[in-house]
């Protein structure tokens, strides 16, 4: 374990300030948002609230007493296919989560006793799906529990009973590859918005918005822009462009912010000369109408599979509303949330060679190093990014962003691939492809604490394997992170010192959250691999071969 203390801001005695900040930021949204996001006991959204912080203000569990953290209860979904990848939602002491193969549960947060379950009857055609088995969460609001299915539907359940309210089929997975749903849809006022998985498949991606009360279609947003300058010929018909992570609804500006996936074929740009909008793009969409207010394309004409899908941190700095966003290419953009203009970029990955640099003031890519036909080249980071999709956490007390990171590369050469025969498989357009260590270096992984606006490192902890779980930071100044060997660690948020850990027995791919029930604070972790990543990366991290499948939701509280 390596600790680097380069910079620390004062953290003690700042709780009041943090709460004031928290409240001030929520005032604008309280009237519009569907859930009481200002109730510290709850974890109301995927990232707790729309700001993407994964910060719980609860402070019963502290750096002093965390050693007394013990298992309170365990709930098992009864199916371990692709593990447990969700972040649970907790409202008024009830935990809502989704397990493998679209099994949805409501569980008593104090006891783990099941209140209801809903097992989705899935079309047998789901056996053909590449991104299969898993789901990253439900969304709860307006008295309903919403989720997307493996067979292309959005379903709303009654929050109290778990009975189906509506069920809307949006895509035909027999005809459209990569058109299944794996992430929680986002509730934005009266509409619920979802995007499909497939940036890497030969399909044409779009966002779907439904009336949240009835399931009737409200609008679609085409992620492949209908413009021959962006997509010449028929290239857009199989241009990819999914939106496989949930995005976030900003009630303050009444905007749905979402990052889109890469263009396809991933590495072969020859048939799709142009900027390939809106792939690898940050979109700000007005949820009532589906109208685009602004956009920022992070990777024009992407030929490296550098999605823009990861989470956004909403930070107000000097009265400016900013979005902080990590792209899979290993750079972080800081974007003005009213205009979409880049105000800063910084390099998150230690190894990058696909561009010489990204202009700090404009976000422009300078010195592109593209894949070629007939020549294998090494690109860093790989298609698996400098981090996977598992979100980091931000504390308003320390003003630090806590996030996993990893360093490895890939070798690739462009190869022609017929979109008609790509089928349900990847549409990468490669003649050579494989993961490799950074040139002249070693593969590595870490958890780091960093200033999200500047990239200035406060501390980092080395990991043997890439961390694939969502991070939690609390008002008790604790950072919780689950690793790929199954250990859940608690660190001092100020300096990275490890204070507690627990062996869950299988790697962590889901999120860790915190809530309060019956006057007690709980830490809850979605545990168990799962996930395609360990298989992808086992060539460069052979210990991933030992990853064991499991699925268990584990709640901890003080003795």
């Amino acid at each position: 374990m390596v600790l680097k203390k380069k910079r620390m801001t004062g953290v003690k005695g700042s709780l009041a300030a943090a709460m004031a900040l928290l409240c001030s930021q929520l005032v604008g949204g309280a009237a519009v948002a569907a859930e009481p996001v200002d109730n510290p006991a709850n974890w109301a959204e995927y990232h707790r609230d729309y700001r993407g912080w994964r910060y719980s203000p609860l402070q019963q569990i502290t750096t002093s007493n965390v050693k007394k953290l013990k298992v309170a209860w365990i709930h098992q979904p009864g199916d371990i296919t692709q593990g447990l990848q969700a972040t649970p939602i907790i409202l008024d002491g009830v935990v809502y989560y989704i397990g493998p193969n679209n099994r949805v549960f409501a569980v008593d947060g104090a006891t783990g006793k099941e209140i209801w379950h809903y097992y989705t009857e899935l079309d047998p055609a789901v056996s053909t799906i590449l991104f299969n088995g898993y789901n990253r969460g439900v969304t709860v609001g307006n008295g309903k529990v919403f989720f997307g299915t493996l067979d292309g539907r959005l379903i709303a359940l009654d929050q109290k009973t778990g009975k189906k309210v509506w069920d809307t089929k949006l895509t035909d997975i027999k005809k459209c590859n990569g058109c299944n749903f794996t992430s929680p849809p986002v509730l934005a006022g009266d509409v619920i918005i979802a995007g499909p998985t497939g940036g890497d498949l030969a399909q044409r991606g779009r966002l779907y918005a439904l009336n949240a009360a009835t399931g009737e279609k409200a609008w679609n947003f085409e992620l492949i822009k209908d413009d021959p300058k962006s997509w010449p010929g028929t290239s857009g018909e199989h241009g990819g462009g999914g939106a496989w992570l949930p995005g976030q609804y900003d009630p303050k500006h009444d905007l749905f912010i979402v990052g889109t996936s890469n263009a396809a074929p991933d590495f072969d740009g020859t048939e799709r000369q142009g900027d390939n909008l809106y792939s690898a793009t940050v979109l700000a969409i007005e949820p009532k109408t589906g109208k685009l207010r602004w956009y920022h394309q992070e990777v024009p004409h992407d030929v490296w599979d550098y999605d823009s899908a990861y989470e956004f941190l909403f930070i107000n700095k000097d009265k400016q509303d900013l979005l902080v966003h990590l792209n899979k290419g290993g750079y972080v953009s800081v974007i003005d949330n009213t205009s979409g203009k880049v105000v800063n970029t910084w390099k998150f990955a230690q190894n990058t060679n696909w561009v010489d640099k990204v202009d700090a003031k404009t976000g422009e890519l300078i010195g592109r190093n593209e894949p070629e036909v007939g020549k294998t080249k090494i690109f860093c980071p790989s298609v698996l990014g400098a981090r996977s999709w598992n979100a980091g956490a931000y504390s308003p007390k320390t003003k630090l962003w806590y996030t996993n990171a990893h360093e490895f590369c890939e070798q690739a050469a462009v190869g022609k691939q017929d979109p008609k025969t790509a089928g349900n498989g990847p549409y990468f357009g490669v003649a050579d492809f494989g993961f490799v260590p950074p040139p002249g270096g070693k593969v590595s992984a870490r958890l780091e604490a960093v200033d999200p606006l500047t990239g200035k490192l406060a501390w980092s902890v080395d990991y043997a394997l890439p961390g694939l779980g969502g991070v939690l930071v609390t008002g008790g100044d604790l950072v919780f992170n689950g690793d790929s060997n199954g250990l859940i660690h608690a660190y001092n948020a100020a300096n990275g010192k490890e204070l507690w850990n627990f062996n869950a027995g299988s790697g962590i791919r889901g999120g860790i959250a915190s809530y309060s029930a019956g006057g007690k604070q709980y830490i809850i972790a979605a545990t168990g691999f799962g996930s395609l990543f360990p298989g992808f990366a086992s060539g460069v991290f052979p210990a991933f071969k030992e990853a064991k499948g499991a699925a268990a939701l584990i709640a901890f509280t003080l003795e």
Binding site: I80, G133, G425, F435, G535, A537, G539, K545
Partner: protein, 159 residues
């Protein structure tokens, strides 16, 4: 493969194919791997009812060793399979392909065709996306990788 092409059930429409393969099996007789013992790898699932059908349709060991089949299989493997399994089957959640000795080609064919669920892992079914003749080429490439392991092992034994 001229003879196989002319009478192969792979040329039939999909709806006929199962019946055709079965009939063809009776007509052409089962082709047995003379140069390899039939030791089923425990790691390969055998979907019930399919084994008998496919067994009768397997290409000969000679065909599976054809360089053009291996090259064709490699190209498709890199496009479709390498993301999960690595370029040479070194990744994924299974033992490296090169470590597989005596891997029965029809078990490989069945696993690719029908997918596999084991523990937390799920591999999709590919029979609707990849024509059987192309799946056999992927099998040829995988056998090519595994054959290397066989030879290396034989060398170690002084064989």
């Amino acid at each position: 493969m001229k003879i196989m092409k002319s009478i192969s059930p792979f040329n039939f429409p999909r709806a006929w194919r199962v019946a055709a393969i079965a009939a063809w099996g009776v007509f052409a007789g089962p082709q047995v791997w003379a140069d390899e013992p039939h030791i089923a790898d425990e790691a390969v699932a055998k979907p019930a009812g399919v084994a008998a059908v496919v067994a009768s349709a397997i290409p000969s060991a000679k065909d599976l060793a054809r360089p053009d089949w291996i090259d064709g299989g490699r190209a498709r493997f890199i496009q479709t399979c390498a993301y999960c399994h690595g370029r040479e089957g070194e990744a994924g959640k299974t033992p490296p392909f090169r470590s597989h000795a005596n891997w029965d080609p029809k078990d490989i064919f069945e696993t690719i065709s029908n997918g596999r669920k084991r523990g937390g892992n799920v591999m999709p079914t590919w029979k609707d996306a990849i024509p059987p003749e192309d799946i056999w080429k992927i099998v040829a490439y995988i056998k090519f990788l595994a054959a290397d392991a066989d030879q290396a092992a034989a060398k170690e034994r002084g064989g």
